[in-house]
Assembly symmetry: C2
Homo-oligomer: 246 residues x 2
């Protein structure tokens, strides 16, 4: 284990990296749990995240829990009202429209850089599409939604900019809050499987003009579908607190 030189030094570094990334504070672990519960819909938008209730449920102190809340607030998955507490974020139609406005901007810009992206980055497109098709074949429709996000994350990755990738990650996580207005995940996600195939084909073939047209179409359809769903159910603005077991 001591510093033997030669072909084994990489092993040491890898072990160090693993140790480094594996380490996470309890606040981060708590935030991860809450993030999962939010995205899977157990904690729907508008739900109050009570310090007392959740702290007791997860067995962490209030101070630690508040640190976890901060993380979710940064990710825009929750909102904070002074002296009133933290709530699962409620997106309105304006939010959805703005997210798609930015997605158009970032994703098309990333696309225009696709030729300069190394193969390793472009491969992720295909991987995400396959991931979605596999999940659909096995009926895991929520995972189809996850694969959808991975595809668009991969498109953003074509920009080769860490900050754009990070920004896109935030946007997609935020958008996931809006997916909850779609009651049936299958009829919501299924149509996108063919869209995705048609989308990455021109990208990988290098026909960027076609790809950009396709992407615009795609985003227009997706946005309209979400906004239609929003307009159908306006009322549920302020959600009451509903005790849940975590």
């Amino acid at each position: 284990m001591s510093s033997t030189e030669g072909s084994t030094d990489w092993a040491e570094k890898l072990a160090d990296d693993r140790a480094a990334v594996g380490r996470s504070s309890t606040a981060q672990r708590v935030a991860e749990i809450l993030r999962d519960r939010i995205t899977e819909g157990l904690l729907p938008p508008g739900t109050k995240l009570s310090e007392d209730a959740i702290g007791a449920a997860l067995g962490v102190s209030r101070n630690t829990l508040r640190e976890a809340f901060r993380l979710l607030l940064h990710e825009r998955l929750a909102t904070h009202e002074l002296s009133r507490g933290v709530y699962v974020r409620v997106l309105d139609a304006n939010d959805v429209a703005d997210v798609y406005r930015v997605r158009r901007l970032l994703e098309t810009a990333a696309l225009r850089n696709a030729r300069s992206a190394p193969p390793r980055v472009r491969d992720k497109l295909e991987m995400a599409v396959v991931e979605g098709e596999k999940a659909a074949a096995e009926g895991r429709w929520r995972d189809v939604g996850t694969a959808n996000m991975h595809l668009h994350q991969a498109i953003a990755g074509l920009s080769m900019s860490p900050r754009i990738e990070e920004f896109m990650r935030q946007l997609l996580a935020e958008l996931r809050l809006a997916f909850h207005v779609m009651n049936d995940p299958k009829t919501f996600h299924a149509p996108y499987l063919t869209w995705h195939r048609r989308l990455i084909e021109p990208i990988l073939a290098g026909d960027m003009d076609a790809a950009e047209r396709m992407l615009h179409e795609y985003l227009d359809v997706a946005e309209r579908q979400l906004l239609d769903a929003f307009s159908r159910l306006q009322p549920p603005r302020k959600q009451a607190y509903r005790p849940v077991s975590l």
Copy 2:
């Protein structure tokens, strides 16, 4: 004060708004103080932000201070290493390059939307330029830098997207960390005053092609200047802790 109706109802709302925005937690106020100290260079990049030392200096508890740190971490003004603490962010050349990559993308996209932006939004361009010229005339060179950021914030505002404005705010705050490598603020900021005039002229005239060309030139020059300064002084990576009075 009770709900008198008629022409005074707006007064009530305004008072409520003022109360709402005026309210800020001590964590937010602490974060603001630290943000100022960082951007003005009193806490240079690499400085360790000790919980004990700063908490004592500002007279707040560690819990509150940690909440303030979270805010700075979110703004990328600080970095966090588990069990090692929080440090003022150190930008490297890659960071600078990435910030300019994203700026090109966002600012040109915002520019293309300038025609659709309402006059109230476009007016902010002129206001920012005037602000810079006024500060320069009075020798307040740090304020010239602030006005510079306001101009580019205004350009991002042309996109009419809250998320893009927010993203740009982050980018510019981050970039300000890099400004510290320029030793003399006057010779650094002064040349941009004329650039700014030449930049907003075509925008306000509606000649967006010319504006976009000008913006590209501008960003290229600014990026090169910063990167040159970086390459000249590589060494100072890990900065030692230096006690300061806040």
